[in-house]
Amino acid sequence: MRALSRIDKYRGGGRLILRPETRLLLTVAASVSSLALGDPQALSLLLAFSLLYAAAETKFKTLLLAYAFMGLMCALSLACVWLLGFIFPPMREAPLAGAISPFIRLGVSLNVILPLALNSKLTELAMALGRLHLPGFLRLPLMVTIRFIPVILNDLVQLREAVGIRFRGRRGFLFWLRHPLTWWRVFFQPLIVRLIRSADELAMASELKGLEVNTDFGSSAEPFSPDDRLVGLTAALAIILSALAEFFLSGSGHA
């Protein structure tokens, strides 16, 4: 069971043999670095390295689909900015660098989250979180969050079907566009209620299982593989190079 897959249908490539801790740490390191960096060229370097990692760990088609979706989202937000420019002209004169950096950060996050979600089993991630010796108040919510993913996907499938039955004949895109309040009520309200209920049940199950008192998830049975070391070193190199690029190219060294 993959973290992002209710029915194993999005299985990724997973050509590298990595421990879940490696994927988790890479995700955190890349996200923090992309937040710290501000120069688009430095961020692009980080994006390139993270893309190499994603390409090695994710099926090409899945990666392409994810990028297409991200591209659509970026295009929509750029269109909104352009439209807002008519109301607030200074927005049209803002430097491109300021506008492009958030999108590069989004790309970096996508590149590290996709391999984590598609190639890690729920249990592996949960155990890895335990082994990272995070404090209980961080570990428990994170484990429940990971376990939450299949619950959300299952709820979405059931909700779509229930709405299809109840609103038969009124399901077209235009119907929902004309009735945004109904759309909110029909899709989001039941989903939010279900999620709150599921979160409560999962939290109760975690308490009953004794996760809050567990302090020993043991050390990993497997040592870090050569792939783990290679990816770790490359990631460190990428972050250092990006930081240097930020320092020299922006000239301010504010990162």
Partner: protein, 486 residues
């Protein structure tokens, strides 16, 4: 072993006592049925005994609950859980690992048991519950019965003294119920004490001897499970019958026949005559075959007719295609071969009303009344529509809740509401998927009466259910599916 003395509990932010002065005791190896109407406090009592109060559920607790001299919840939920374990109604919610084997290992790891000892215990538990072959199976791909057994295996891995089960029969078919009963029997033989909160007493006969009935949070009756044979007592306490026939003795739908041999097709029922199949205007299934991608072929050339004004019950083990057949009849799925027609027209969602199992996904509006008005559809909120909606709510005992938010109702109230929504518009077929899984005796009788009344008004009603008591109360015909797993 377990002593409960004058236990009272009030939920946080509530003025009402959820438990009032509850007292009882239970010895090692004893088992007890905890019965009562929906909302009578059964689940709350189990939560207290599982140690969730006051650590997880806040509120005011008075009185004492002791297990071997230790007070309930002492040392926190997890520490208390070494002695008393709770199986929640939604068994899937209790899985935190990916596979059956990993779930048991994770449970043990949380209690500090690791290495070869944990592996040995996990193997023993899997074997004891007949799950060895499913060790590496994803927990999300298990049937409902398998999920419950997997949860049981994990809960009993460290040999607790008391096992608490909340509505274990709600989603189980009679075959899995029997298996669960056997598993619980073996645990009881090992000295485990059991408290089972359930609306269906029939499957617990022989397993539970003691009976404790709650009503509005207080003990309304304490005795033996055999005492439920008294119908007057049952009606007074709102309970279900302890005597339900193993198989309904009802005729199959008219025109029932199948091409494949009976064992292959997976049906129980005597072939009807072709003459019956050709009679009148009806909903007709002809030579039906279906399969999900990569799945086995189902229904083996099934033919049958659903007559208008009649309730047909569809029963059988989980995962054998009951819901699939209902979906085909409503046009939610297309047959691989064969056809389904309503008076000669192809089946379609516009001709049918279908009520799905999970009520949460089917409620959208800010009040119960507006939910029914939305379901009525055409015409909007006219005085006539509103009067009709109120009448419908009254017939399901929900009129007093008309101004409540639908998502704030209890599980049983939501179940009644979604069935009422299914009846809000005229239709040719009404398909109900497990409409009574969490209903007490009083609401079961009400639901059965409304289903019968709905059928009398015209549509064919298809009842997909494991609830044999409901079948006995309102079905005119019965078909049992036991083919390959979907």
């Amino acid at each position: 072993m377990l002593k409960v003395e004058s236990l009272s509990y009030r939920h946080a932010h509530s003025d009402r006592l959820a438990l009032k002065d509850v007292s009882f005791s239970l010895d090692e190896g004893q088992s007890m049925l905890l019965a009562g109407r929906s909302g009578s406090g059964k689940s709350t009592l189990l939560s207290v005994l599982a140690g969730l109060v006051p650590h997880f559920l806040k509120g005011a607790l008075a009185g004492r609950a002791e297990l071997d001299g230790r007070e309930a919840g002492a040392g926190g939920v997890a520490e208390w859980g070494r002695g008393a374990r709770l199986m929640l109604q939604n068994s899937e919610a209790q899985f935190l690992a990916g596979t059956v084997g990993e779930e048991i290992l994770l449970t043990l790891r949380c209690r500090g048991v690791i290495g070869p000892e944990a592996g040995e215990i996990a193997r023993e538990r899997l074997a004891a519950l007949g799950l060895s072959a499913l060790k590496d199976q994803s927990v999300f791909k298990l049937s409902e019965g398998q999920k419950q057994k997997a949860v049981l295996a994990a809960l009993t891995a460290l040999r607790p003294k008391l096992l608490l089960l909340d509505e274990p029969s709600a989603n189980l078919d009679p075959v899995f119920l029997e298996e669960l009963k056997k598993a619980l029997w073996r645990l009881r033989e090992d000295g485990l004490a059991l408290i089972v909160a359930d609306h269906r007493p029939y499957w617990l006969k022989g397993l539970c001897r003691k009976l404790l009935v709650l009503d509005d949070g207080a003990v309304a009756y304490e005795g033996q499970i055999e005492d439920l044979a008294d119908q007057e007592r049952r009606s007074r306490l709102g309970l279900r019958s302890p005597d339900v026939p193993e198989k309904p003795s009802l005729p199959p739908p008219s025109g029932f026949r199948r091409r494949a041999p009976e064992e292959e097709a997976g049906f129980n029922g005597t072939d009807g005559s072709d003459q019956a199949a050709d009679s009148g205007g009806e909903i007709r299934i002809e030579n039906l075959y279906f399969n999900y991608p990569g799945g086995p072929e189902l229904f083996g050339g099934l033919s049958l007719t659903l007559a208008y004004g009649e309730v047909t019950a569809l029963t059988g083990p989980s995962g054998r295609g009951k819901t699939t057949l209902a979906r085909l009849l409503c046009g939610l799925e297309k047959p691989a071969r064969g056809r389904i027609t309503y008076d000669g027209q192809p089946a379609g969602l516009e001709l049918a009303q279908v009520v799905l199992q999970n009520a949460d996904h089917q409620l959208y509006m800010p009040t119960v009344l507006s939910e029914v008005i939305l379901a009525v559809g055409a015409g909007g909120r006219t005085p006539e529509v509103e009067a009709g909606a109120r009448e419908l709510l009254a017939s399901f005992g929900l009129l007093g809740l008309a101004s409540r938010h639908p998502q704030s109702l209890s599980g049983g109230e939501k179940q009644r509401l979604v069935v009422a929504l299914g009846l809000a518009r005229p239709t040719k077929l009404l398909a109900l998927d497990e409409p009574t899984s969490g209903l007490d005796g009083q609401n079961l009788a009400l639901m059965a009466a409304q289903i019968t009344k709905a059928a009398q008004a015209g549509p064919a009603v298809l009842l997909v259910t494991h609830d044999l008591e409901l079948v006995g109360l309102c079905a005119a015909r019965h078909l049992e599916l036991f083919g390959p797993m979907t």
